[in-house]
């Protein structure tokens, strides 16, 4: 498999999706289900006015900050709970509680307590996402192969080496799952956060255009974010996956 091929596949696949969309849109009310050109037009309009870059930038910054926070804190807690049965028994109800607290509640409380500012916004998003990371990594840590832990014990690996060389490589699939669905979930919560109390960002824009029932512009913003995520997937996540799993036998 050459490095160029996957990109080609992605392009083919996206073109297929575009075609499907266009065909479906042909028969539909353009107000409700606009065809690609209408959305492109909206996209170009927003891009030209500078709005797109500004709002997308704001959202991406929030997503990135909340992602880093949620992934580090969440995986530390998740791994600790997964590896320590006693801790897990004690804190499992807390995890369930925070997992199922509605985003709205957390966001509103964060705004009310910490003010309408970025810290509250990003903190609220992280609090929403952390329990998700916890349960994913916890399952991973529960399923760790004990024979490698024994090896590390016998050969007196340091704590750092135990994590870096023994635990984390086994958790790779769980990290991959948590980070992919993590970015997506965080972005969805950021939309709510922006809707409730921020003055910029894609969520703010989407809601604005939702009030005007301007579906084309809503889709333009949504797809702009999706495009960024496709780039992240292609340029960061996929190559990292390949690197992290290079030791697995290559695909037959």
């Amino acid at each position: 498999m050459t490095r160029g091929l996957p990109l080609l596949w992605s392009v083919v696949s996206l073109l297929g999706l575009l075609g499907l969309w266009w065909v479906l849109a042909l028969g539909a009310d353009p107000r409700v289900f606009p065809a690609p050109p209408a959305v492109l037009e909206a996209l170009l309009r927003e891009a030209a006015s500078g709005d797109l870059a500004r709002h997308l930038g704001a959202t991406l910054a929030r997503v990135a900050a909340a992602f880093v926070l949620a992934l580090t804190i969440g995986s530390a807690i998740g791994i600790a709970l997964g590896m320590n049965h006693g801790l897990d028994r004690l804190f499992d109800p807390w995890v369930v509680l925070f997992l199922n607290l509605p985003a709205l509640v957390v966001i509103v409380l964060a705004y009310v307590w910490f003010g309408l500012n970025e810290v509250a916004a990003i903190g609220a998003v992280a609090v929403n996402k952390i329990p998700n990371v916890v349960v994913t990594l916890r399952e991973g840590a529960r399923a760790l192969d004990r024979s490698y832990a024994e090896l590390a014990r016998v050969y007196r690996f340091s704590f750092a080496s135990r994590m870096r060389d023994v635990v984390l490589p086994q958790l790779q699939p769980f990290f991959a799952a948590a980070s992919r669905s993590g970015i997506a979930l965080i972005w969805k919560i950021v939309l709510v956060v922006e809707l409730l109390g921020r003055s910029n960002g894609v969520g703010f824009q989407i809601h604005l255009h939702f009030q005007l029932f301007d579906v084309a512009t809503i889709l333009a913003y949504a797809l702009a974010f999706v495009a960024v995520m496709l780039l992240v997937e292609t340029l960061l996540l996929r190559p990292y996956d390949r690197y992290a799993t290079r030791w697995r036998a290559p695909h037959a």
Binding site: Y111, L116, L195, G197, H207, Q211, L212
Partner: protein, 304 residues
Amino acid sequence: ALEPVRVGVLKFGTVNWELDAMKNAGFDHAAGVDVEIVPFAGEDASNVALQAGTVDVIVSDWLWVSRLRADGADFTFVPYSSSVGAIMVPQGSALRTLADLRGRKLGVAGGPLDKSWLLIQGLARRDHGLDLAAENDVVYGAAPLLAEKARQGELEAVLNFWHHNARLEANGFRTLVGAEDAAAALGASGPVSALGYVFSEKWAQARPLAARGFVQASRATKALLSSSDAEWERLAPLVRADGAELLALRDRYRDGIPARPAAEDEADAARLHAVLAELGGEKLVGRSPVMAPGTYWPGLADGF
């Protein structure tokens, strides 16, 4: 037989008060319609419901109607209330006029394209050369959250919807400037309706008795609510207020009952539309620079 009419409303919204009073007094049956109240939790929900054909009537504003008509929809509008938003500040605040707002932390419910917000901005620019949006720390957000933040004192002033303002008023706030003042200053000859019952023209044509009957029942109800204090006492649990709050809500509601012939209202609305088109641009008003013809329901030729 009675004509069924499904109305999508906010469960604790002001429209639901009116509809509840209507059903309680039997005004709908008297007018030959059977009103079914379909409660929703958010404003957006009723918009979606109307578009999806799940309800026949919702409450929205003429700007929205005009914009959608320009895009090919056939919604139309019957005035319901002229109550609009206002900028509120605490009683003890040093802020007295619009000009004092420069450089303040200001909460705005309804987003940057809110009609009240645009009108007040227009006024500030005209009278004080002040660009409210640019020269203040503006926080757009959810109305209840902003009301709470105003109470907490994090915001120095808040532009909110009238029912939130009425509650604030009962809790030691006063109006700094109302959107109706701005509208008047910008050329309206009287109170312009802000919200109205919105339905599809097609529906009204197919079911003329339903549309007219509903409008009639609404008027009868308004008459009752403007005269009877007892009815408000009855509504208190639905309004979720008592004491001063209830009184403030009652009075503001009564202030907002449209009292002018619809034609005058429409003329003023068209004038404001032009002003808004200038202030908000295409982003706000959509494709049509003038209020789309038929925005006000032509079937309303009689009466007001």
